[in-house]
């Protein structure tokens, strides 16, 4: 049934968005994770990608989390001469995570998740309203 299939498709959206949420939380949690050794690289921001593929069971295109890419923008340099991993000039490499950008990404993931939830509840409502005809 098409309505049940749309529930399945929306469920794939829910899974993809929860994966995106996981990556965002990783980025936010590691916003201050510096390198362990002098000259090493700190945490590099992760970026989610979404893949669309044909689901043979549903016979429809569902979404799934694609490869997780790394953000190639430069690391921020922070002047902190007292830090044990600071370089000769006293700078410490900080992760290229901008908490504000992550907040916005999170809001986007939240809205997309809710949109998929709405699809599921609308499809369920349509099914049960149709069944109500028999009950009447």
């Amino acid at each position: 049934m098409d309505l049940l299939r749309s529930i399945g498709i929306a469920a794939s959206g829910l899974k993809a968005e929860s994966g995106r949420m996981r990556v965002i939380s990783e980025n936010l949690a590691n916003a201050d994770s510096t390198a362990k050794t002098v000259g090493g690289d700190p945490y590099r921001r992760k970026i989610v990608t979404f893949d669309s593929q044909l689901d043979p069971d549903l016979d429809a295109r569902t979404v799934s989390l694609g490869r997780i890419q790394r953000d190639s923008t430069a690391f921020k340099l922070e002047y902190d001469p007292g830090n044990p991993i600071a370089d000769a000039k006293g700078y410490v490499k900080m992760p290229n995570v901008n908490p504000l950008v992550e907040q916005m990404d999170m809001r986007e993931a939240q809205h997309a998740y809710e949109a998929n939830l709405n699809v599921i509840s609308a499809a369920r409502r349509m099914i049960s309203r149709t069944l109500d005809i028999l009950k009447g």
């Binding site: 049940l4 529930i7 469920a11 899974k15 599921i120 049960s128 069944l131 028999l134 009950k135």
Partner: protein, 107 residues
């Protein structure tokens, strides 16, 4: 979800009764009723489908409690089995009320 299994068994029993009752001289005016088209078989097939989705929902719930499945899978499996169940229940209620109406008929 054991309730679904109990209901499924009850329906299969009902379907069997329907199948047995239809067999002796209750041929429709249009011609012979083929055995695979009887209402009993139809109900039995529907039952099969419902108990299958019920089993899938059961499996999803069981593996979710042990932390092996996504909560989303559980929700969709349970929703699907619930829909299948409700469809069958509505059809059954409809059929039974039609049957009762016939039984109330004064001859």
């Amino acid at each position: 979800m054991t309730a679904a299994a109990i209901a499924a068994n009850a329906y299969t029993a009902a379907a069997r009764k329907y199948g047995a009752g239809a067999a002796p001289g209750l041929a429709p005016p249009g011609g012979e009723l083929k055995p695979d088209q009887s209402f009993g078989n139809l109900l039995a097939q529907a039952m099969d489908g419902v108990s299958q989705t019920g089993k899938a929902a059961d499996a999803a719930t069981a593996s979710a409690t042990t932390g092996r499945t996504d909560m989303i899978d559980v929700v969709t499996a349970v929703a699907e089995s619930e829909t299948a169940m409700q469809t069958l229940i509505s059809v059954r209620d409809r059929v039974i009320s039609a049957y009762e109406e016939i039984m109330r008929m004064t001859i």
